[in-house]
Amino acid sequence: MNAHDTHLHSRTDDGIAPGETLLHVDNISLSFGGVKAITDVSFDILKGEVRAIIGPNGAGKTSMLNVINGFYHPQEGTITFRGEERRRMRPYQAASSGISRTFQNVALFHGMTTLDNIMAGRTLKMNKNFFWQMWRYGPALDEEIQHREVVEEIIDFLEIEAIRKEPVGTLPYGLQKRVELGRALAAEPDLLLLDEPMAGMNLEEKEDMSRFIIDVNQQYGTTIALIEHDMGVVMDLADRVMVLDYGKKIGDGLPHEVQSNQDVIDAYLGVAH
């Protein structure tokens, strides 16, 4: 399948060429009361790359994703996405400007079917007004059908045809993670944030998920930032890796550079601070 003959693609009109900066966060500090979750961290994500964020438990990785996607508002620093600088992101802004995400503990709408979950991911793409929606008639119905096509394509891509009509609450964990990825893809994001996409999976499921991540990155040109604990996976998938420890950035670079960085090794082996 080629990106050109699908409905699904990243925005192309944003004027950012592959390899240029898509997002950069500058001097972000975030604290909850007296607890400093992130201290003065800056880094960037280039368009088209797979960027990994790693670090020991409690290092501030998920907090960083939450800052980017607007769930947390940092006390200091700025976030620049597609050239637009913001003091704080709001979840709605993040979603509407092209940032999608998945969660560490799958956050699906469990009462709804796989299909409805992924359709919900297209919320921002559907804009026929409330009046038509009320009657599910005319333009709203056409729109529903058109979006259904895109959703079917995603279902096809993720090989989850068989569970299309299942309520997601009944699905095994590995499949739930896949549906969650589908929901994030449905928004046709420019930047996809994946919070431990492989946590709790067995080897086979991890291989499947890795393949999907690579395909999303290469076929659709979607930029990906991911948090992952499995170093094998990170070294294979990531173009560049950032390392956090106790809320501070201790390493940033190509996978093999990070791997041989003494600070990073110390952080993982637990040298006294």
């Binding site: 607007g70 769930f71 999608s100 709804m112 919320t123 929606q133 599910r136 709203a140």
Partner: protein
């Protein structure tokens, strides 16, 4: 022996020997049932969209009816008063979102539930301040609702059908059918269900919680007004209506808290059950007055055997 006869045989003999009376009872049950369904619908809407049992639904019924009657008393024409009341209900939905819900995102459901209890007492006080505490008559005729009755000769007797009851049933069915389609088949409906399931996930796909909450509380306000007009047309507009609204609880237990068709079937079962039991068993054997508690007994039995209700979402929990 006579007791057993009175329980198991006599009621059916009477149903058979006085079929016109039996039909009348069924009709009364049907009417009560549709009205219960309407009230339950208001609860289901908010429960579906925020996972919260809205304790304030009852007082919203009273408040909207009082506003309507109050505006009319000020000289506003009846139809304009309905429109203005809807504007007031929108204002209420907007303020509830702005002042209460917005600050409680991601809080446990019980916190949101408590906030609706707070809202109830606020609305009681505010309503009494604005409109006073004495009962008022509903402006049924002015709204163009039929008031007369028709007497049918059937099965060698008569059955009396109030026109207002027919109107109430029709309005209830239109509202319920419309809302069922809206919830299950549209983007906004899906967004409503998504918000109920998971706030964070809903935010991450770009659903605006604030907008959804205003929509759903406003819809509940519309349903409250319809309910208020219909109930008050049968009695009058007073704060006592708020207690009637609690009758929706057994309806919800029966139909399931998340199902719109469940609200209607549950309402009808309660309506029929209550009237039949009262007239054939309650009044002769227990001295009457059973319709104030019979519904709750049915609900208790359901809770034991089918706690998610007839149409509710089954709780799925993976361990």
């Amino acid at each position: 022996m006579e007791l057993l006869y009175n329980i198991f045989i006599d009621p059916f003999v009477q149903m058979y020997s006085l079929p016109d009376f039996f039909l009348q009872v069924l009709w009364e049950g049907f009417v009560a049932g549709t009205l219960y369904s309407l009230i339950a619908l208001g609860f289901v809407l908010i429960f579906k969209a925020s996972g919260v049992f809205n304790f304030a639904q009852g007082i919203m019924v009273v408040f909207s009816a009082l506003t309507l009657v109050g505006l009319y008393a000020l000289g506003v024409p009846a139809y304009l008063a309905v429109v203005l009341t809807l504007v007031v209900m929108y204002g209420l939905a907007f303020s509830v979102e702005k002042l209460v819900l917005r600050h409680l995102v991601n809080q446990p459901d019980i916190i949101l539930f408590m906030s609706t209890i707070g809202l109830t007492y606020f609305l009681i006080g505010f309503g009494e301040l604005l409109f006073g505490g004495e009962p008022k008559a509903m402006i049924t005729e002015e709204l163009g609702l039929p008031t007369g009755d028709t007497v049918f000769d059937v099965l060698g007797g008569i059955v009396v059908i109030q026109h207002i009851d027919v109107a109430a049933a029709i309005i209830a069915f239109i509202l319920i059918a419309g809302l069922a389609i809206f919830f299950n088949k549209t983007r906004v409906g899906r967004a409503l269900r998504a918000v109920a399931d998971d706030h964070q996930a809903a935010l991450s796909v770009g659903i605006s919680l604030n907008q959804i909450w205003v929509i759903v509380w406003f819809t509940a306000g519309i349903v409250a007004l319809a309910t208020g007009i219909m109930w008050a047309a049968k009695s009058d507009v007073s704060f006592a209506l708020e207690v009637v609204a609690l009758k929706a609880l057994p309806v919800l237990v029966l139909g399931g808290f998340t199902s719109i068709p469940g609200a209607i079937i549950g309402g009808l079962i309660i309506g029929f059950g209550e009237k039949l039991f009262e007239l054939y068993w309650g009044a002769p054997l227990l001295g009457g007055g059973t319709d104030s508690w019979f519904a709750f007994i049915i609900a208790l039995i359901f809770l034991l055997y089918k706690p998610e209700g007839l149409f509710g979402e089954k709780l799925i929990e993976r361990i």
